[in-house]
């Protein structure tokens, strides 16, 4: 008897028998025993007088942790939680940086929007925690090296028989007595199971497994390195960065003159920049140009705005030729004519427009500063000033 006894096992045929046998085993005072059935038999917990499982507490703990962690995490990441403590000045490692952006008009802390993720994380952690605890803690698995494995007994209970097993660890264990007890209960194929001399190498502790782990680690590491440093920079993933497009200053292979950005066709006019036809021809302008702008209050207001910006400095607010510059620089020959002279009153709109555009004497042209349409608005305003200076009775109506 050099072999060490692990347990004595017996097989039963019906669930009723096994329930009965389990009850008797408890009555006989055995503590370290087990019942093996191919499926959970109702009422067995009671027959074996097992205490209830504590598993739900694990679930609850995991769930509460998941819930509060998800809430905290979303609050931290989406919000600006530390700003109130002057944390802005703190140096935070990149993985502690927050992302406080208002998105979709929602407040930084949007509880309703956080609920779905909170829920999912709660469920995820509860489920994984429960299963991990069930397998590893409550059942002590994996246990491929258990002595019962690879016995005929195990083959029977994994299929259609019901087995009772009283272990040698039990204080009352006595091989002969236990065998007798089993036979009394109607057990068949009563067998003593021995611990192997050398436990068969447990899969998870074996060198093979260790080697496999190392292999997987090296494999995953290599794969990750190659993917993130080589594959992701290969043409397949970068084609969006290198499409067949041309940039403005590049040399063109396509056009004969080598320019990527081709010049516009001769005579092209930019929108809104019609060339001025009466350059150096004030009389022509006065004769042929017609004011295209309507005399609406908007146009006049705009004209007034521009006049006040560009013209008042010399011509004065009311066009009397007494602008700030003229007053300050008096005696330097700066003498803009009044806009109310009869000469100007007789000028056509086109003639005034020409002066604004081209300038006259000391006055520079304002074509660069004021757009064509706007110059016409200024003309309207000048007319309005002229009329206001000599308002007639009829204007008041």
């Amino acid at each position: 008897m050099s072999k060490k006894v692990d347990s004595v096992v017996a097989l039963f045929d019906t669930p009723d028998q096994i329930i009965h046998a389990a009850e008797k085993t408890v009555e006989a005072g055995y503590k370290e025993f087990d019942v093996h059935t191919p499926y959970p038999v109702h009422g067995m917990d009671h027959a074996m007088s097992l205490p209830g499982t504590k598993l739900p507490y694990v679930t609850l703990m995991c769930g509460l942790f998941g819930f509060s962690f998800a809430l905290f995490f979303q609050w931290y990441v989406s919000g600006d939680p530390l700003s109130g403590f002057g944390a802005k000045q703190l140096f935070l490692p990149y993985w502690l940086e927050r992302y406080p952006f208002v998105i979709g008009g929602k407040p930084l802390f949007s509880l309703p929007a956080f609920v779905p993720v909170m829920f999912e994380v709660t469920v995820l952690l509860s489920a994984l925690g429960t299963v991990a605890a069930m397998i590893a803690v409550f059942c002590g698995l994996p246990a491929n090296g258990h002595p019962l494995h690879n016995t005929d007994y195990m083959k029977a209970v994994s299929c259609n028989r019901f087995g009772l097993c009283i272990e040698a660890k039990d204080a009352n264990f006595d091989e002969a007595k236990v065998r007798e007890f089993m036979l009394e209960q109607g057990g068949q194929s009563v067998v003593t199971v021995y611990e192997p001399y050398r436990r068969p190498p447990s899969f998870f502790s074996s060198l093979i497994f260790l080697g496999l782990l190392v292999g997987v680690a090296i494999g995953v590491g290599t794969k990750t390195y190659i993917v993130y440093n080589k594959v992701l920079y290969s043409w397949m993933f970068l084609w969006l960065d290198y499409t067949d497009k041309v940039k403005p200053q590049q040399k063109s292979e396509f056009f004969a003159d080598g320019r990527t950005m081709q010049l516009p066709v001769d005579g092209t006019v930019a929108r809104g920049y019609m060339p001025y036809e009466y350059k150096g021809n004030p009389e022509g302008a006065g004769q042929f140009l017609v004011n295209p702008a309507d005399q609406t209050s908007e146009v006049l207001a705009h004209g007034k705005k521009l006049y006040n910006i560009y013209c008042t400095a010399c011509h004065g607010t009311y066009g009397d030729g007494d602008g700030k510059v003229v007053v300050r620089e008096a005696g330097k020959g700066l003498k803009p004519p009044s806009l109310h002279s009869s000469k100007l009153k007789e000028w056509s709109d086109g003639r005034i427009y020409h002066v604004i555009s081209e300038g006259q004497n000391v006055m520079p042209g304002y074509a660069k500063q004021i757009l064509a349409d706007e110059r016409w608005a200024v003309v309207h305003y000048v007319r309005a000033l002229q009329r206001a200076k000599d308002a007639k009775e009829s204007d008041l109506q």
């Binding site: 191919p38 009671h46 739900p56 397998i135 409550f138 195990m154």
Partner: protein, 457 residues
């Protein structure tokens, strides 16, 4: 009336010993490869090939190969995503909700439906990943500390989706695996070849059917079922949030969450029926997956179909009742606009055809079940199409109104996704027990003690 209400109908037809149950279920894994298997695999691999080609084309040329346009920015990829996630729902419903409701008939079909869930969710996940255009950067979707100091936007429903679908996948996989542990152990003790023994040993974790373990195991299973039930509701609800939190008329409506869930169960059950009709014949398990199962699934199909019909009606009524013109327009346009064909296909397939199940004879007829389950899935695909496309194709600016036409690559990806799904499912039926042995044995005749030992009175 020959019906007897006094006892539930037996779940397994004919007397079966526990050993026979094992033999029948393990048979597909033990007999040599047979012709049907290779034919089925060849068909599904062809589909998978189409999928691979379509993805390759997509990678090479970008998402422009699809028919998506402006304003229909969400085309078939999202339709397919919602479709496949929906298919995945029946599995968890059968395994979790029916488990909690103590409907033991679920035991015959739960394992298979769960496997369907797993593969359907994987298939579904591919579509949004491909739609991002750069699936290799998918990890940007996860909140992890990164060198760009960027976090994901937790206020976006699309991010909730990332959490919901990946949680759903993980938990379903866990649930499925927990159910498989005792069966792997049974297979470990049955099998004769070394390689199989090694693999089954690895996955069975050394399970030894101890009642000290069963106690924790059963409670863990119950808890998982309890967790899966709200989870399954939440997943499609969150998918529906993708649409419903926006202000697009036709998308923004409060009934969307339960309506999507009902639709998901509807299409999922239809898919379970379609596939089980074939599988039960090929693997000769007609006495385990009986007509009782088929009939009950037909009832669920009709019930969920009516729920979906309720939602259609409610949406129409409230669109009128709301007095919001844009809302009213969308629904009129759905029914009578350019996509009326899709809308009426949906109504006929989802609401009208399942009404045939009011007849008991129809519920017990395999050909009718098969046809209706397929039309249901057609209808449910069109439902997602109608929701996505008809709401988008009439933009706020009439100038950008457009008609959406899929390209060959849309079609290829869609057909290919079936190949992807079925390849996984066929391999599953070959290498894992299609029906849970332990659960089925527990509900077999005489499997439980004649009067329970415990007394709670």
């Amino acid at each position: 009336m020959s019906l007897d209400f006094s006892r539930p109908r037996p779940l397994i037809e004919g007397p079966h010993t526990l050993k026979e149950i094992d033999d029948v279920i393990a048979a597909p894994m033990e007999r040599p490869h047979h012709r049907e298997f290779f034919i089925a695999l060849a068909i599904s691999l062809t589909g998978l090939g189409i999928f691979v080609i379509s993805v390759a084309k997509l990678m090479a040329d970008g998402t422009g190969v699809w028919g998506n346009n402006n304003p229909v920015n969400w085309g078939w990829p999202i339709v397919n995503f919602v479709f496949w996630v929906g298919i995945g729902h029946a599995g968890t419903l059968i395994s979790a909700i029916l488990f909690l409701m103590r409907q033991p008939w679920r035991n015959g079909i739960a394992r298979f439906a769960e496997a369907m869930t797993i593969f359907a969710v994987i298939t579904a996940l591919l579509f949004p990943l491909l739609h991002t255009g750069r699936p290799w950067l998918a990890h940007y979707l996860l909140p992890y500390p990164n060198e760009r100091a960027l976090w994901v936007n937790f206020r976006s429903p699309l991010l909730w989706d990332v959490f919901a679908v990946s949680t759903y996948f993980t938990v379903s996989l866990t649930f499925w695996y927990v159910g498989l542990i005792p069966d792997f152990a049974s297979m470990r003790d049955r099998t004769t070849t070394r390689l199989k023994k090694f693999i089954y040993t690895l996955f069975s974790l050394g399970w030894r059917f101890s009642n000290r373990h069963w106690q924790h195991y059963e409670r863990a299973y119950l808890i998982l079922a309890g967790l899966c039930t709200p989870l399954v509701l939440s997943v499609h609800s969150i998918v529906s949030f993708d649409f419903a939190v926006s202000i697009i008329p036709g998308w923004h409506t409060t009934i969307f969450p339960p309506y999507f869930v009902a639709g998901a169960i509807f299409s999922g059950f239809a898919m379970v029926i379609t596939v089980l009709i074939v599988v039960r014949v090929i693997y000769k398990i007609e006495h385990i997956v009986t007509m009782l199962h088929m009939e009950r699934m037909a009832k669920v199909l009709m019930a969920t179909g009516l729920m979906v019909g309720y939602a259609y009606g409610m949406e129409f009524f409230i669109a009128w009742y709301s007095g919001v013109e844009a809302e009213q327009y969308v629904f009129i346009n759905r029914a009578f606009g350019p996509y009326a064909w899709a809308y009426w296909t949906m109504i006929i397939c989802n609401v009208i055809i399942p009404q045939i199940f009011w007849s008991k004879a129809a519920r017990n007829s395999i050909p009718i079940l098969f046809v209706v389950s397929i039309t249901t899935n057609i209808g449910m695909w069109f439902e997602r199409f109608v929701i996505t496309v008809t709401s988008l194709h009439r933009d706020y600016i009439p100038g950008s109104w457009a008609y959406f036409t899929p390209t060959i690559w849309d079609v290829g990806l869609y057909i290919g996704s079936f190949g992807f799904f079925f390849t996984g499912l066929i391999l599953f039926t070959r290498f894992m027990p299609v029906v849970s042995m332990a659960e089925l044995k527990a509900v077999a005749d005489g499997a439980q003690p004649s009067h329970h030992g415990g007394d709670h009175e």
